[in-house]
Amino acid sequence: MDMIDPTVVELSRFQFALTALYHFMFVPLTLGLTFMLAAMETVYVVTGRKIYKDMAMFWGKLFGINFALGVATGITMEFEFGTNWSMYSRYFGDMFGTPLAIEGLMAFFMESTFVGMMFFGWDRLSKPAHLAITYLVALGSNLSALWILIANASMNVPEGTHFDPETMRLQFDSFVKVVFNPDAQAKFVHTSVAGYVCASLFVMGISSFYLLRKQHRQFAARSFRMAALFGIISTVAVITLGDVLGRMDYEKQPTKIAAIEGLWETSQPPYAPWLLFALPDNEKQTNYLEIGVPYVLTPLITHEFDKPITGMHELQNEAEPHIRSGIEALSALKRYGQTHDQTDLDAFRQHKEDLGFGFLATQFAPGQDVTNISPDEVNKVVEATKPAILPNVFVVFWSFRLMVFLGLSFFLLFAVSAYLSLKKQLERNRWILHLCMWSIPLPVLATEFGWITAEAGRQPWTVFNRLPTFLSSSTHSVTYMAISLAGFALLYSIFIAAELYLMFKFARLGPDEHDTHGTSALSHNAAAPAAH
């Protein structure tokens, strides 16, 4: 086997992180705005008031800009698995490819088909038929996210799969287990409702801009009201599901939860503090400048007062027998590949659960081969592999805290905004309008921090405890990776610039400019039922 260049692996990781984070700047708005359009159009169909149709059309236009660029940035990622992560695709393709194929064939086609009817069907479809189309677009975009997150969850908590020594791949056992993986469920709801939060603040922010300039007041006030109520409930759901995911990580991905909490030593319940601030150091395996709130960590993570949370030092020691067993598994597998002898197969089966740890250890073995080394070298490889089971603690610790801080601040923002909107006191509290307007990018930022927490926290694995990232990438040259990385960065930056330009342009033009269906009800007292 060719030696794997760690620089190529790191560049592949960086490229995927870059494209995924760029792509996810567009996704949450699509997830949330579609259902908000459905809510606006529902009110239009129920009340017959044209202003709600104008709202659905105007916010629908902004959704369209975002949708087009979101699709453009998303498609490249699917190809990236084949080009940059070919080892991963071969090893885990059965598991990962199935949900992605369903996503393309079912959800994305559904969304793409109906989105055209939604934009161009206003004058061609009856009101209930168009409303049904809008709901199908919303459902399609969220089902799209569902299948992607099912695929992602199978990497974080692999269920419904087994390793086949004949094909040397992880193979499908149970479709039901993959679809109903608890991690997939919680992650989907957490991500989807985080999109609702993004869309809510997007609508509130632009509405605030109009209210501050005393433009389109009736339009903006109604949009703000609907978005504030949409957002407050969504934020509660995001926080609830975040808690569920934390508890799930405690049970299924202990290294991730220990890194999130900067927990080097096993916690002492119930006193264990929740760290508000710390500077974790992976090299020295310690934290600097810790500031924590005592008695919070244990109930927060375990929902009990007497359960300890295993620290990273203990997790490293617990990994030692798995690493040794994994080396045995890999050696037996190699022998079986050469001999096809039942004894070797039995030896492999005895250690098969730890095969992933054997793969992980290869990067520290002479010649990247653990199957033919002396007992002394095995000891050295095991000692070198132990700290490698931990993710980058500083990154995970801080991305999680930034996400949580932003999430909690959104709750306050939505609560105050909803209250002032319900009291009809928005215009006399201009500070909240300014705050909403400047907060538009923050939920997108929070979702990005959420993804960094989830994915950096999964390291050093692409498939948790089964396949290390080190063995997942393709064997490109460093030059190839550097050039393609620069190309992606440039192209995606152009996409972001185009999105921002179009969004600013159409948001500044406002709903009046958008109305091509006769006299707008927006600049008049729109509470009067329109004849449309």
């Binding site: 259902f35 009110v43 009201r225 909107s421």
Partner: protein, 63 residues
């Protein structure tokens, strides 16, 4: 015609109940998402209708 409509609605009800039982059992969070999203849309829509009612009931031009 009315019978057909009734039968159609009954069929929708049966499918909804089967969906609720199966998904509620196998995928409680998926079920929560369906119910929660419907609730969010309804509350958001109710807020808009309340706004119209407030506008009609009051001469106050403030929003």
């Amino acid at each position: 015609m009315q019978f057909l409509r009734l039968a159609g609605l009954a069929a929708v009800l049966v499918v909804a109940l089967l969906f609720a039982v199966f998904v509620g059992d196998q995928g409680p969070w998926y079920f929560a998402w369906v119910i929660g999203t419907v609730m969010i849309i309804l509350i958001s829509g109710a807020g808009a209708i309340l706004f119209d009612a407030q506008e009609t009931a009051s001469d106050d031009q403030e929003v």
